[in-house]
Amino acid sequence: MSDEALPRTGFMAQAFANRSFVAGFVITAFIAAVALLSFFWTPYDVTRLIVADRMQPPSAAHLLGTDQFGRDMLSMIMVGARNSIAVALVAVGIGMGVGVPLGCWAAARGGYIDDVLMRFNDIVFAFPALLSAIMITAIFGPGAVNAIIAIGIFNIPVFARVARAGALAIWPREFILAARAAGKGKGLITAQHILPNITNLLLVQGTIQFALGILAEAGLSYVGLGAQPPMPSWGRMLFDAQTRMIVAPYLAIIPGMAIVITVLGLNLIGDGLADTLDPKLRRRR
């Protein structure tokens, strides 16, 4: 590895040579495509309830059956994908947007700023994440936006830690010392040299947090604090299915499978990226 950052195209090209990554990429691309498609077309309108058609098992007319209000499950799953992806993606964005600058700043300045920031990190980490998310949504009201904020807040220390660790490993390197000798400020060095070198690291963590975000959103929606009806959400669908599982198990199986497949896809991507990033690990496979 050279001292300068790997060219990203090279990194991605290497990633595509990794089996895990390719499998994950295919799955994730499929889910994303379904979510995008749902903006333009779904088999049925999910906002119209036809109670007379309620709880029909899968059939030719409704490939995945209908729910307790007679809505088409396939359409619900498609629109639900949109919600899951949006919540998890924005939550990762919040975590990165706040956490990475904080982590880089702590690494660059060191001293008491580093101490304070890391102490802050510890405090957030010490809070039971799920219960805190429940508190946040209780205060600001349940809904997709507040679920994003609740999940996003707990992403901040994760990214701050990764960015700080990554940056600390790079600061003593020779090319950084050269840049400092040339009179560049710490901010400039961070932007020009540190960030490009930790991008891949952040990408790996981002994928992991994305997958965790999807699980967290499903959990929050399941206890009724995530996306609200009439917006379809996978976790919410599971909650609605729970009391009806005795008579209609498919209502619970289908949204669960959707979650598993999506998270699996993202985790495979994360694994593939991590392998690519760390050649030592890759040799081992």
Partner: protein, 315 residues
């Protein structure tokens, strides 16, 4: 070592103080109050006000904060607004469910994960390894509450082997109580086991590449002895970290699983208390959990030193 521990303890204490202030002031924003909720639709305003006075809710923010924190110092957690019993009693009752549940699932997940991780590491790259890792990849992706639903459907509704939910209490006997915890423990343990197995495997692979293992092998020690006695012992650091994190998660993060099985545990207590605006319960339980996380992290650090003699001399 002692200085290091003292420093850690001081940091933990600071975290507790900040946490208490954050929790207390954040909950202050919650709309609605316990008195109105208790008395419902038809209650007159003066009855509600009288109850507020009785609960001490009419006092100012700072008065209540210092009263509460002052109580915490002497381990007096105050009285629940809704149940009007000491919070510590409520917590003790609920911990009698959450603690065993967390311990059982932790034991279960360790019992599954360690052998699988070691097994996979020993057969790295072979079909057995690939299979185990593929299975664990799946395990990580499964939401535990969905897995719980499926377990309920198969074992409680269909086969009727165990109850579908609820907790008879330890007074009903150890077996009925344990029976009620089996499915929740499995549901919690499996995804955790998947993570733990992956961590164990990669930690082992890291260690297996090191010199002292090569030495041990060169000395002619059998493969199994090398793995279990030398490699695993040194691979315990990351495994312990994950275990510590998982215990903290299991204690409070079980709220969703407790919802699936209607277990009267700590998570559900907080969940209910938030909705009933029984804020003193929420605040006290959150503080307890934060304290637990700090203590567990401290313990993990101590066991680092025990597992890895190098660390003992270093600090």
């Amino acid at each position: 070592m002692t200085a290091y521990l003292l420093k850690r303890a001081a940091a933990g204490l600071l975290t507790l103080v900040v946490a208490s202030a954050v929790v207390f002031s954040v909950l202050e924003i919650l709309p609605g109050d316990a008195a109105r909720l208790m008395l419902g639709f038809n209650a007159t305003e003066d009855a509600v006000q009288a109850l507020r006075v009785q609960m001490g809710l009419d006092q100012g923010f700072l008065v209540r904060y210092f009263h509460w924190t002052g109580g915490l110092l002497s381990l007096d957690f105050g009285r629940s607004y809704t149940y009007s019993v000491p919070v510590i009693d409520l917590v003790a009752e609920r911990a009698a469910v959450s603690l065993p549940l967390a311990l059982i699932s932790l034991a279960l997940s360790t019992a599954i994960a360690l052998p699988v991780g070691v097994f996979a590491a020993a057969r790295r790259g072979r079909p057995a390894d690939t299979l185990a890792m593929a299975a664990s990849q799946f395990g990580v992706a499964v939401p535990n509450f969905w897995f719980a639903l499926l377990l309920v459907y198969v074992f409680a509704v269909w086969l009727r082997l165990v109850p579908a939910g609820g907790f008879p209490g330890w007074s009903a006997g150890a077996w009925p109580a344990l029976k009620a915890l089996i499915l929740p423990a499995i549901a919690l343990a499996l995804p955790q086991a998947a993570i733990l197995a992956r961590v164990t495997r990669s930690a082992l692979l890291d260690v297996l590449g090191e010199d002292f293992i090569r030495t041990a092998r060169a000395k002619g020690l059998p493969q199994r002895a090398v793995l279990w006695r030398h490699a695993l012992r040194n691979a315990m650091l990351p495994v312990l970290t994950i275990l510590g994190l998982q215990f903290a998660f299991l204690l409070a993060g079980t709220v969703i699983i407790e919802n699936v099985f209607y277990l009267p545990g700590l998570g559900r207590l907080v969940f209910q208390a938030i909705n009933q605006r029984d804020l003193i319960v929420v605040e006290s339980v959150v503080m307890l959990l934060v304290a637990t996380v700090i203590v567990v992290n401290l313990l993990v650090d101590v066991s680092y030193a025990l597992v890895d003699p190098r660390l003992r001399t270093r600090t």
